[in-house]
């Protein structure tokens, strides 16, 4: 097997080339995200958020230069996730890990953190349970339960008593279903039926038929962004449910800004709840959108993972500030517990119990923006929402 | 019941088209029987019926006093009813030695053993050597089959069949495609077949049939139209009609 050696030494060459440039006083941050593959756009948003933050806040903290190293993890693949994290820690000597789009990938990294003496700042992965796996995890994104819960009250406020829930049959979908059911029933509504759709569903007409047959006044939906969401919304319009007055509620993953052009006019009027809309009106967001758009290249591609990454970098900067460049994961994490700041999405803080971000959740409606492009317009605010998924545990 | 092998009233039709009609024949031990017939006479179907590749619509196949009609092809082989193929079916990447070894191991029920060495048994090796020696294949024993002459491949086909220690051997055109320079070696191999073996040979080459067979059966349109001594075949009116009627060029019967 001489080929193996040759290949691996080539690999070593490539990887070493990166490390030579590192000066002694450089602090390295490893970011794992889907930079290729079907979710590449979300990875690009990670990068845009990180670059925007560094462009606006400088590339050093207290005289320590910050260097970011990206690693590509195209799809949920815990084994590869662990290998990448391990490599970042052992070989690249990163002091901070960040990123992570999928929950299983985060779960694969958490067992390493203690030994690696490295905090993990999650920019996206949205399942509540990750936080329980290690005290060295901080999350700046959201959880599905957090963004979904306000929908229960929103639905009853709009006079809806019976809802049918249709979610993709995977972790986040099941989380969303549970969170909605709980909050909606607490608000006095009734979930008449729950449907779990296989992830690879392409034709949603039969689901819509079921929605119609159920006699519900509204449908609650959760699907991963991308082709499935498009198919679902299309089917909702085409099968006449919209005309029939059946309302549509969903967490904001479904109407993320980068999918809106594809959803087209059919998306108009959809109500979703989420922690961030690119259209959010604040000076902080204006600054952020400008910088992030520059980083990502085209304004249509910008969506929510960028803000998770932006705030994630804020947390990492604060950690570096607190530890003054020394590698001390526990101290770093302790330093950001209770940290509060104004993010592009609005006021946020890190809950000192759960280490998860506390933030406003907004109800948004898809409307045409001033330039004729579709946007998520914030029409109602639910301030200071914690993660109910964690609060109950 | 003295017949080693017997078929009784074997018939087969495909969708109403009868390709074998009421074929009966019997073979005692030591028989040398040739089955001939013009193209389309149903020889291939007959072989497939006998070996169990296809099921008959009616009739029985009896081997050694036991009705094997319901048995599949593999079970019939295990009972001693062995065939060779008209077009050789060999493993082009294996050597003749490996072919025969594998066959003997299979016969002994040891071929599916994982915790055994393929060449580990000296008795088997001796038997392999014996078979290859009889067939004159020693010199190519360790060459890939894909590289040896076609005549030698035909001999190996026979060798595989012999390694199974058959009671009844079906030779499907054993000399087909072999250049005439190599046919004597095949004939020689046929002569050396164990005397007690009942052999049914399907063959086009009438010279070979005359030299080899003690008895000839002629099949035409799925039916046996003649059964008798090789010397009587050419004179039989039915046979002449069957061949000359279909065959403008009656080269082999003449």
């Amino acid at each position: 097997m001489p080929s193996m050696k040759k290949l691996l030494s080539a690999a070593a060459g490539v990887l070493l080339a990166g490390s030579v440039s590192a000066a002694a006083d450089t602090i390295r941050v490893g970011i794992i995200g889907p930079f290729s593959g079907p979710f590449a756009l979300q990875g690009k948003n990670f990068q845009a958020g990180v670059e925007a933050y560094m462009a606006l806040n400088g590339k050093s903290v207290k005289g320590h230069d910050i260097e970011v190293i990206y690693r590509d993890l195209p799809a949920a693949n815990p084994a590869q996730s662990r290998a990448l994290a391990q490599e970042l820690v052992v070989k690249e000597k990163v002091q901070y890990l960040g990123g992570v789009y999928f929950t299983p990938d985060a779960l694969a990294i958490t067992p390493l953190l203690k030994q690696a003496n490295t905090p993990l700042v999650i920019f996206n992965a949205a399942t509540s349970a990750i936080m329980n796996q290690s005290p060295l995890v901080v999350r700046t994104s959201f959880t599905t339960a957090q963004t979904t819960t306000p929908l229960g009250k929103i639905a009853t406020d709009r006079g809806v008593k019976k809802v049918i829930s249709a979610v993709s049959d995977y972790g986040p979908g099941v989380d969303a279903e549970a969170a909605f059911k709980k909050s909606f029933e607490a608000a006095g509504g009734q979930v008449v039926e729950t449907i779990r759709m296989p992830l690879n569903t392409t034709d949603f007409s039969p689901i819509m038929q079921r929605v119609r047959d159920s006699g519900a006044e509204a449908v609650f939906a959760f699907l991963p962004s991308g082709p499935t969401t498009l198919g679902f919304v299309k089917a909702y319009n085409e099968t006449g449910l919209k005309q029939a007055g059946i309302k549509f509620f969903a967490p904001g993953d479904l109407t993320q800004e980068s999918d809106l052009p594809a959803l087209g006019e059919g998306a108009l009027g959809l109500l979703t709840t989420f922690h961030y809309a690119v259209s959010h009106d604040s000076p902080e967001n204006k600054r952020f959108v400008e910088a992030a758009t520059k980083a990502i290249g085209s304004p249509e591609q910008l969506s929510f993972p960028s803000v998770g990454a932006y705030d994630g970098m804020h947390v990492i900067y604060k950690m570096i500030e607190a530890t003054d460049g020394k590698q001390d994961a526990q101290k770093a994490v302790d330093a950001v517990k209770g940290l509060a700041w104004t993010s592009p999405r609005g006021p946020v803080s890190i809950d000192s119990e759960t280490r998860h971000v506390t933030q406003n959740i907004y109800l948004r409606e898809v409307v045409k923006g001033p330039d004729g492009k579709l946007i998520n317009k914030e029409i109602e605010t639910f301030p200071n929402q914690k993660d109910p998924g964690l609060a109950t545990q | 019941m003295s017949d080693l092998f017997r078929v009784e009233g074997l018939s087969k039709s495909f969708g109403g088209l009868a390709v074998s009609r009421n074929i009966s024949l019997a073979m005692p031990a030591g028989e040398r029987l040739a089955l001939i017939g013009p193209n389309g006479a149903g020889k291939t179907t007959f072989v497939n019926l006998v070996t169990g590749q296809i099921r008959p619509s009616a009739g029985r196949v009896v081997l050694n006093g036991e009705d094997v009609t319901e048995l599949g092809a593999v079970r019939r082989v295990r009972q001693g009813l062995v065939r060779t193929f008209q077009v050789t079916r060999l493993f082009s990447d294996m050597t003749p030695e490996e072919h025969i070894t594998l066959t003997i191991l299979q016969r002994e029920g040891k071929a599916a053993r994982i915790l055994a060495r393929f060449h580990g048994n000296s008795e088997v090796a001796e038997e392999v050597e014996g078979i290859l020696g009889t067939l004159g294949l020693i010199e190519v024993a360790r060459r890939r089959v894909g590289e040896i002459a076609y005549g030698q491949q035909r001999l190996l086909e026979i060798g595989i069949a012999l390694a199974l220690k058959p009671k009844v051997l079906l030779l499907d055109e054993p000399a087909a495609g072999v250049p005439s320079s190599e046919t004597p070696r095949i004939e020689q191999a046929l002569e050396r077949l164990p005397p007690s073996l009942a052999v049914l040979m399907i063959e086009h080459d009438m010279d070979l049939v005359f030299r080899f067979a003690k008895r000839v059966v002629v099949l035409a349109a799925g039916e046996i139209i003649f059964e008798g001594l090789p010397s009587e075949v050419a004179a039989n009116a039915k046979v002449r009609e069957a061949y000359l009627g279909n065959y403008a060029n009656a080269r082999s019967v003449a």
Partner: protein, 287 residues
């Protein structure tokens, strides 16, 4: 009753969309004996062309379809000439390796030039309307897709069974050497069949885009579905493909209506059952 009719028509529309996309692959695999896993990649390329023509250039839907088919075929010519021609007659696994390689390249290149987002092909007003067909409301384009499916099936049947080209094609498939000797230019027959298969992929990619949205990972995402449909129908059989699409469409749609959470179980259990009962597909040719 209304529900059954409604599910039936959904199943029919979905089945026909699958049919248009898959029939090209069925022909390539059954008639040309090439396991072309890159089939979906061609459908996707067509989708991108159509999207560009209709959305960015503002051309009409029909023109977009036409441009997509022509454009995809033109793009496929060098691929056929330099890559596919090398694997005619190779082992299936070699073909798999090559066509997966092509698929990866197409995905990578598409991603590079057009980005990872979904591309839509705007429908003309007449097809975008929901239509009330009495017992339910259905999108007009679904009716359009059903019609297209039937037309494609009939047209292909006519081409293969009733035209001089069809005779040459069948002769080539049965025995290329013999056909060659009889004066059939088999290379040309192959090239033309390949172009037809690609054209069908392109057509399917565009009109089926409402079911299977166009994005760079299209070819990989639906590869399994395509393979399953083709083999259940029996590679190379038009009737088989029609029946397979309708049966699988019906199983899929009904399963997702009755028990959505076990939709995949229904689908793949049906596939296993069908394949076990018809090991060559519904109308597969003996190999």
């Amino acid at each position: 009753m209304q529900t059954i009719l409604s599910i039936g028509i959904d199943a029919f529309a979905y089945g026909m969309a699958l049919f248009i996309i898959c029939i090209g692959l069925s022909l390539t695999m059954g008639l040309m004996r090439v396991v072309n896993l890159a089939h979906g990649a061609f459908a996707m390329i067509a989708g991108y062309i159509a999207s560009y023509a209709a959305r960015d250039l503002g051309l009409g839907y029909a023109i977009a379809i036409f441009l997509a088919i022509i454009g995809t075929i033109i793009l496929s010519i060098p691929l056929e000439r330099f890559l596919f021609r090398r694997i005619y007659g190779s082992s299936e696994l070699t073909q798999v390796l090559m066509t997966i390689g092509i698929t990866f390249c197409v995905i990578g290149i598409t991603n590079y030039f057009f980005g990872p987002t979904l591309k839509t092909i705007p429908l003309p007003e007449s097809l975008a309307q929901p239509v009330d067909v009495g017992f339910k409301t259905i999108a007009a384009h679904r009716l359009f897709v059903m019609t297209c499916g039937l037309v494609v099936a009939a047209g292909l049947w006519y081409l293969i069974e009733r035209t001089a080209f069809g005779i040459r094609l069948r002769a080539t498939v049965d025995n290329a050497a013999m056909a060659d000797a009889l004066g059939v230019r088999t290379q040309v027959v192959y090239a033309v069949s390949f172009a037809i298969a690609i054209g069908l992929a392109a057509f399917g990619g565009v009109v089926g885009a409402e079911f299977l949205p166009i994005e760079p990972y299209y070819a990989l995402r639906y590869m399994v579905t395509f393979l399953v449909v083709v083999s259940v129908g029996g590679a190379g059989s038009i009737l088989g493909a029609v029946i397979a699409c309708l049966v699988l469409g019906a199983v899929d749609t009904t399963g997702r209506y009755l028990m959505p959470e076990f939709g995949n179980f229904f689908f793949y259990a049906a596939v296993i059952a069908i394949v076990c009962i018809f090991p060559r597909g519904f109308f597969g040719k003996a190999q």
